[in-house]
Every structure is written in C-alpha cells, then in structure tokens.
Symmetry: C2
Subunit: 341 residues, 2 copies
DNA sequence: TGTTTTTCCGTAAACGTTTACGAGAACACA
DNA sequence: TGTGTTCTCGTAAACGTTTACGGAAAAACA
C-alpha cells in the first residue's frame, strides 16, 4: 500500500540517496533524474513517512495547540478558538508546518497531556491558551527548554517567550467610561471565577476607570462565575441583590452575558432597558441576541496568524536570516456599539 | 536533554534490548533488573521517542479527528464538538491512544488535509464529522483502506465502517407531532444549506410526520441557510413571507434559531408567543435564551466514548479477543420541553 | 594531453525504537 | 554425570528517512 523511498529507488534503478535528494530539492542532482523521481513519486503515490522523517531530522514539523474543556465548562466549549486556530493553521501551513490540537482531559489543566507532548517529542513547539496569573504550564515549559507561545499573558516565565494578548485592561476601562458617560454610577462586573489572567486585567481596568471618575469601588458589585451561560445565570442575581443595585453590568463574555440576561429577565428586569449591559469578549452571538449586545470584538483569525509568526520567529530553526527573537504584543479590542447599553 | 534508551542502558550497564523489554513489560526479564530499569527511567526522566517507536512499530498510537471551520461559518465554530471530543479522548486514553485534532483550512472540506494525514501515516485511524449525503472523504478512505469511523451517517462507503449518528429523522417527526398536537398546521423548517446528511434526515422525518397528519407539504415553508446565527437570520424572513405564514418553525440548531428569532423580533413577531419555535440540536444556549427554547438534546460526551469503542473494535490490531467487527448505531434525541412552543 | 574543477550519484551511518534469535547460566530430573 | 528445561540477557536487524563522504565521470582549463 504505502510506497517508500526504497520502492522509488528500485523502480527507477537508482539509489535511495539520490531519490531523497531529488525529493528534497537539493542541488547536487541532475535535473533530468530529479524529474524522473518526481514523476515516479506521483505515479507510485509516494509521500514520506512522517515517523521516519521526524526521527532522522529530530523535528516533527508540527506545532501543538493544547485544547481542553474549561473547568466548570465540561459540557460545551468555547467557539472562541476556532477562528484563532484557523489563522494559526493557515500561517503555519505556509511554513510547511502542521497544526495538531491536543485534547486534554477535563480537570488536570493539561499538565499531564502537556508533559506527554513534550516528553515524547510529538511536536516542535506548543501554543497555550487560557493563561493564568501564575501558570505552572509556563513554568514547566521554560524549565524544560521547550519552545512555546501563549495566547494571553501571565506573570510566569518572564519575557522569555512570545505572547499575544488582548488589551482587556483598556476594554474594562472603556466599558466603564462609556457607561459613566451615559449616566451610570453603579456598575457591576461579572468575571471568570478562576485566576485566568484576563479576568484580572479586566478588573484592573474597571477599577482604574472608576477611580478616575471618582466612583468608589464596591465589592458587592463584583461577582465571579464559570465562563459560560450557567455561570452568568448563577452569579448575576448576587450583584442585583446589592443594597444599591447596579444600573449597568459588564460581563466578561457573551455566554456569561446570555446567562445573566436570562436571570435578569426572570426577575422582571429588562436588559438594555432597566439595566445596561456590555460584554468584554464578544462573538457573533452578541449581534443576534435581543437586545443586541454592545461588546468588544477581538480579531481572532489575524491573532492566530500573528501568533504563528511570533512563535516561528522565536525558534532558531524556523526563524529567518535575522535570527530568533521574542515578540510580545497586546492588541486593542474594538468596541461594537449595539443596543444593550 | 532528552534521554534515550541508550542512556538508560549505559547508565545501568546492560543492553538496550533488555531495557526495552523491561519498559514494555515483557516476561523474559528478571524482576530485579526490571525494577532497576524502571527506577532509572524515572530518575533520568526517560520517555520513549514517539517517532522512533512509531517507525519501528508501524503504528502511531494516535487517532486523528478532522476539525475544520464549517463552510459559511468561517467566523466562529461549533461548540458542539468539544464534549464529543472530551468523551472520545477519555476513551481512547484508556487504550493508551492519543487523540489529535487536525485543523483543516476553511473551504477545502478536508480532502487535502485528510490525504496528508493518511499518506504521511500520522495517525492509525481518523474520525470524521459533518458527514454528507455523498461523502468523498469516505470514498477516499475506504478506497485507501484506511481505518476510520464517522459521527453521522452517509450513503457513501456502504456498511464498511463504524458510524454513530443521532436519529434526526425521528426528531424531525417528533417536533412536528408535538406542534400539531398543539394546534399548528403551518410548520416551517429551517435547514442547513449544504448537503449534510442530518439535514436530509431531519427533513425526511418532517415530511413523513406531515403526511401522517394529512398536512400537505409546502416548499415555501422550507429554507436553507448556513448553520449559524447569520444563516438563521438571513433565511427565516423567507418562510415568513409565505402567503400563508407559518405559526411554528423548526430550526436545525440553536445558532440558526438564535438568528431566526432575531429576525422575527425585528419584524415584531415574538418567538414563543406569536410563533412557536423548536430546535433540533440543542446546546445549553437554548436553555438560557429568552424564551428558553424547546429542543432535542444529544448526549455528546457518551457519544464520543461510544464512537471510540466502535472505532477500536473495528481495527484488528486494537480489537480484543473476539476479533474486529463493524458497529453502527443510531442514538435517540431526547426532547427537552421549554418555553418556546 | 594533462591537470583541475564541477557535476552527479552511490555507500553507509545515523536517528530511537522493538523484537527474533540464540546462547549462557541455572536448575530439575533421571 | 548427563540430558533437558527454564530464565535471563545480549546481539543485531529492521522500520523510513536524511546526509556526510568519497569517488567516477564529465567538463573546463592550461
């Protein structure tokens, strides 16, 4: 079934060395024999065995993205990643690299799977998401000297790796500014319950903006929940029970906002009318919800492309002539004003 | 950095053959030396090189799931697959197999990437989703003799491969039955625009039930759109423009329903009040929408687990003592009655 | 013609495993 | 003591590549 380089050599009556050189486009092979090899390869449906190639080259030519059901989100996952992965894949493919997505089991936060990928040398580098404030995965990878890049920042690992993040701090502040400008003073914030870094950044921006406007920070207006509909649903009533209830709520993302709006509706509070709603990370869902939710839209596919470039630039073997370098970027979030605030 | 079996052998002053046998739990190695090897492996942080192992064994011990942004759905993807993949991963891990998710570029419907996986022998088997009525991927894989299983049925390839599907036909009929019982006679159906097999099954059940109730099929009440919010939004007005507009709409899935409800709301039609809504494939989103959408919930994680079992059972090398066999199953969809109908 | 350079290709080793084969040592049994 | 069996391990080949090395033939040059 599978034809090897030996089959080609036998078929053409030349040595396997020549076949390999012809296939790899090396200079020291006659143009005529190269063509014959190429033709034979097509005819015999040859394609190189990945294991053999990786073994010899010491590189797999593939990059791993660690995907896992988020804790507290066992049931359904984030559609967030698909466009990001599309961009990542496209850019990596340009360099002849494959993207593989490694599924982790829910719960272990990928440590086990990550070790497996690294130790069995299944990929040349990995891409991490859901970065935490202090991230043990980053510590592990830096300590192991394994190349990686992150979608999101972390305090772990210093500046030793490429990272691409969104400016959640500014988005949090912008959301507050916008709401204050519209007359709100009691503004709640619904965050992810885990120590995910963007939850911190979002809140930091929120607090900074409040201070700027001379509004006192009220812990009663902050609540943490799982990053999904159930989380928003469970947690929103808490902030509404405040002695002086909020007139506006900033949700971390669309799913939490959806759950939160459901809770509001059940309490007879109309989102967009009785209470303003803004979401930080918006997806197309926000646009089609009623009321359409004002939010900050990330450019996910370009981010995937960019992170691929940044990752490759950081790896000596893949970096071009100018040599390896670490790039870290923070991208703006674009406000899309709709009907909910 | 990476320690090999040779390092272990040198360290323990024994041969690499013995080390390998000890590591692989073969019988012909002294219990004492095995223990020493195991200890040394832990101490030197040894783990087998995947490429070397695959090359020698002729198997990668990993299964590939082909994931790709759905055509017309470039922007955001289906959260649908995450719980399925979780189940798949968990079950495969029990057999020591890795699950890798191969990202395809949008558009090429995976043919290119699939070939790549198969021809470079990157995985021992693949799992396909989004099965079409006639599916060239299935034709390719059967013709290539490559092991695979599908989430969803197809007319391609006969019964030669394991498949697990949901009973969309029955769900379509059940939806009609339920709506008719509630007094509806003008029932619209919003389908995916592509020739995805479940779109056909859903419509087949719909038509069968209509016939059973003596309701004439009206093509004006059928519309096809992309499987996302934009698709539902774009297409729902079409059926509402019918001379005799529907009093109920069955949507293929939650995202389409969301878009559709938006379109209805903009036209001053209240979903759940003025027009009944049912969705075929429901996710948690349905529960938190207002009105909460009645829908049919698939058991995605168990399906993932089951398909892993079925795939393994079909591959001689992985099937147990009873030998390889092809299993095909169709699972029921459970109706979750909520507020929208 | 003789020397040097260039072009092209074959040989063989190496990457890290697994495993068939065989052999030495220990043991059992007569 | 001789024969047979069982344990345990080393040797070496193999999986499919890539590539350093060297050499033969052809080309270029003096």
């Amino acid at each position: 079934m599978a034809s090897s380089i030996h089959d080609l050599a036998r078929h053409l009556n030349i040595s396997i060395g020549t076949v390999s050189r012809a296939l790899n486009g090396r200079a020291d092979v006659n143009a005529d024999t190269r063509q014959r090899v190429l033709d034979a390869a097509k005819k015999l449906n040859y394609s190189p065995n990945q294991s053999g190639r990786s073994l010899r080259r010491g590189a797999t030519h593939s990059i791993a993205f660690m995907l896992q059901p988020h804790p507290g989100d066992q049931e359904y996952g984030e559609p967030f990643f698909i466009p990001f992965l599309t961009g990542l894949q496209a850019k990596l493919a340009e360099s002849g690299l494959d993207l593989i997505v490694v599924m982790g089991a829910p719960g272990d936060y990928q440590q086990e799977r990550l070790r497996r990928v690294v130790e069995t040398r299944r990929a040349d580098a990995v891409v991490l998401a859901w970065t935490r404030r202090e991230d043990e995965r980053i510590d592990y990878l830096t300590q192991a000297g394994f190349p990686f890049a992150t979608l999101g920042r972390s305090r772990s690992g210093g500046d030793s790796y490429p990272s691409l993040d969104l400016d959640f701090e500014k988005a949090g502040a912008d959301a507050v500014d916008r709401l204050v400008a519209r007359g709100h003073r009691r503004i709640a914030a619904i965050r992810p319950s885990l120590d995910l870094n963007f939850g911190y950044l979002f809140l930091a921006g929120y607090r900074k903006a409040l201070r700027r406007h001379g509004i006192e920070f009220d812990p009663e207006l902050i609540a943490d929940g799982f990053i999904n509909e159930a989380g928003g649903y469970a947690v929103t009533p808490k902030v509404m029970r405040s002695k002086d209830p909020p007139t506006a709520i900033i949700f971390n993302n669309d799913a939490m906002a959806l759950g939160g709006c459901k809770a509001l509706a059940e309490a007879g509070i109309r989102p967009g009318h009785d209470v303003a709603v803004i979401v930080i990370v918006d997806t197309p869902l926000c646009r089609y919800f009623s009321p359409a939710l004002t939010g900050f839209r990330p450019a996910l596919e370009p981010m995937g492309e960019r992170l691929a470039e940044m990752l490759l630039a950081s790896i000596p073997a893949y970096a071009g002539a100018e040599g390896a370098r670490i790039i870290r970027e923070v991208w703006p979030l674009e406000l899309i004003a709709r009907d909910s605030d």
